[in-house]
Symmetry: C2
Subunit: 336 residues, 2 copies
């Protein structure tokens, strides 16, 4: 590897074109020099197969062209989709994605975010973080942050793409209520240690309004662990007749647990997911879930970081994505 093939540098191009390195630098970026020189330099550069060294460029310009993407756990299928899509969009805008996941540990998420900042990423896209943690707004001081899913307090983030969780929760619970379900479990991913996530507040409020007996339980994204949690929830006395999961991945765990316990879906148990992952429709039975326009979401989020990086109008933008209940076969009227 890296044999002594001397990389052609900007100086080589400068010499060959009979101009200064500075001129080459300008020419290749199409500024400051005459059309004529630009043309000539470009030709020489391509003849020599010159490609600017991104590292040197980053050091000199202070911009790396990299955007960090940090989600709580890439075990979650939806987040996998999210990062894949984001990487694609970033690349289309000549930026690279540095993708990290916190393995479900909120503390680790902080550490990694700091690391990413120190790694000199130009921007950061954070998929659900704990909005009550001041750490994030502080971090936003030193790097352009776009938050997905949760609003960051203060004037921190340069952009926010939020889910209308309140509506989602309402629709889900109303749907289950209408089907006769009264005892419902809500499985949410592990989040804030303080337990005061907005989602939970919404759940409480709606439960009260609809006079539902709702239990909120934290469940990891990992299929195996989610299954364990679901097993516990479903095996206990006073088993809920319906489960609402804040992630399709978690709902898959419920499916697995239900199978083990020989509970039929939707006969014995109704299940609702969140995210509407493409494969959810292929499950047995197809999963009722909330869908978002993920592509648009990613487009918007990436657009926000990039424009912030380019120093564009700092006006903070907030986009709210509406949930869309896809009713399929995993929910049914409660059997008595």
């Amino acid at each position: 590897m890296s044999p002594p093939v001397k990389r052609t540098t900007i100086r080589d191009v400068a010499d060959a074109a009979g101009v200064s390195p500075a001129a080459v630098s300008y020419a290749l970026r199409g500024i400051q020099v005459s059309e004529e020189t630009q043309e000539r330099v470009r030709r020489v550069a391509s003849d020599l197969g010159y490609e600017a060294n991104p590292i040197a460029r980053a050091l000199a310009s202070g911009r790396t062209g990299m955007v960090g993407i940090l989600g709580p756990s890439l075990e979650d299928l939806w987040q996998q989709r999210l990062v894949a899509e984001a990487g694609r969009v970033l690349l289309a805008h000549e930026h690279y994605a540095l993708i990290l996941d916190a393995g479900g540990d909120p503390m680790r998420q902080r550490v990694l975010a700091t690391q990413l900042r120190d790694q000199q990423v130009d921007g950061l896209i954070l998929s659900p973080v704990d909005p009550s943690d001041a750490f994030w707004s502080e971090l936003a001081e030193s790097v352009a942050i776009v938050s997905i899913g949760d609003a960051l307090p203060g004037r921190g983030a340069v952009g926010e793409v939020l889910f209308d969780n309140r509506t989602g929760v309402r629709n889900a619970l109303e749907h289950l209520h209408a089907l006769g379900h009264r005892r419902i479990a809500v499985l949410r991913p592990p989040g804030s240690p303080t337990n005061d996530r907005p989602a939970e507040i919404y759940v409480g409020a709606e439960a009260e309004r609809l006079e539902l007996d709702v239990d909120v339980v934290s469940a990891p994204y990992e299929l195996q662990k989610a299954t364990d949690v679901a097993r516990t929830v479903l095996a206990g006395t006073g088993r809920p007749s319906a489960v609402f999961c804040f992630s399709d991945s978690i709902a898959y765990g419920v499916y697995a647990a239900a199978r083990e316990l020989e509970l039929r879906i939707p006969g014995d148990l109704s299940v609702i997911g969140y995210d509407d992952h493409p494969v959810s429709i292929l499950l047995a039975p197809p999963l009722t879930s909330f869908s978002w326009d993920t592509e648009r979401l990613v487009d918007v989020a990436v657009g926000m970081v990039l424009s912030a990086i380019d120093g564009h109008p700092r006006r903070r933008r907030r986009v709210v994505i509406e949930p869309n209940l896809r009713e399929r076969a995993s929910t049914a009227r409660r059997r008595r």
Copy 2:
């Protein structure tokens, strides 16, 4: 963003500790200087909250600490898993993953790989590439490459993690043969333009041996497009009674198409996948598939790049992963 917070540099630390910048550089990496000085420098550094600038370090040392991971398409669930896992392992070894996907276009894969090399990644992990394309072995001259799935010709790659596709194909076809299937479609991801992928050769040989009527068709990873291809395959005259897919994602497309066409699985159609993605077990019916030890695969692959990067024994290593047929409910005896 990036307010005028002057980063603390190595020089600040040097001044504060009363030594030269060089000494700090050495001390922090634990070489060349006395224990005593190391200790002192470390203390000062942490007091000042000093973190070495990775970009500057990369420029000076010629090593970025980044490893590129390039797969044909992140639409494929298994590849999503692969990169997620690889990113995690790399991070554990203090390296970052630069993840790209070629969107199913082999040509694009070449372009991106070059880009990644120019981006100064220390190593490259390539998930299936066309092994007959000399481009890859040439690229291997200038960067440490580990190839997953296909062998690279020549003494190019520093490592290879191969699937024993021959065995996989044999097992799959024998399994279907034993169930009475004679007319079988094989769906493989889009690969080499020259169509001489080993997998195809194996298929041909096995088909001949077992006297099977096998049709090999190229199908994209994307669920929607895979469904389209599957629809065509299943709707034609002389419809196969079984389909073997070289990726679970593609098998999902078959499921979707079968549903549309009202073909029952496994009643009217047997389906075998490849990769055994965790959710495949939850499908209706659970998908028969080949499983690999993905975690081990990733560990090995990452280990190979890293040791090559560290200039360790250049002996090229080749590991072959054995397939493991997980027989589930998507295959059944052929109805007559």
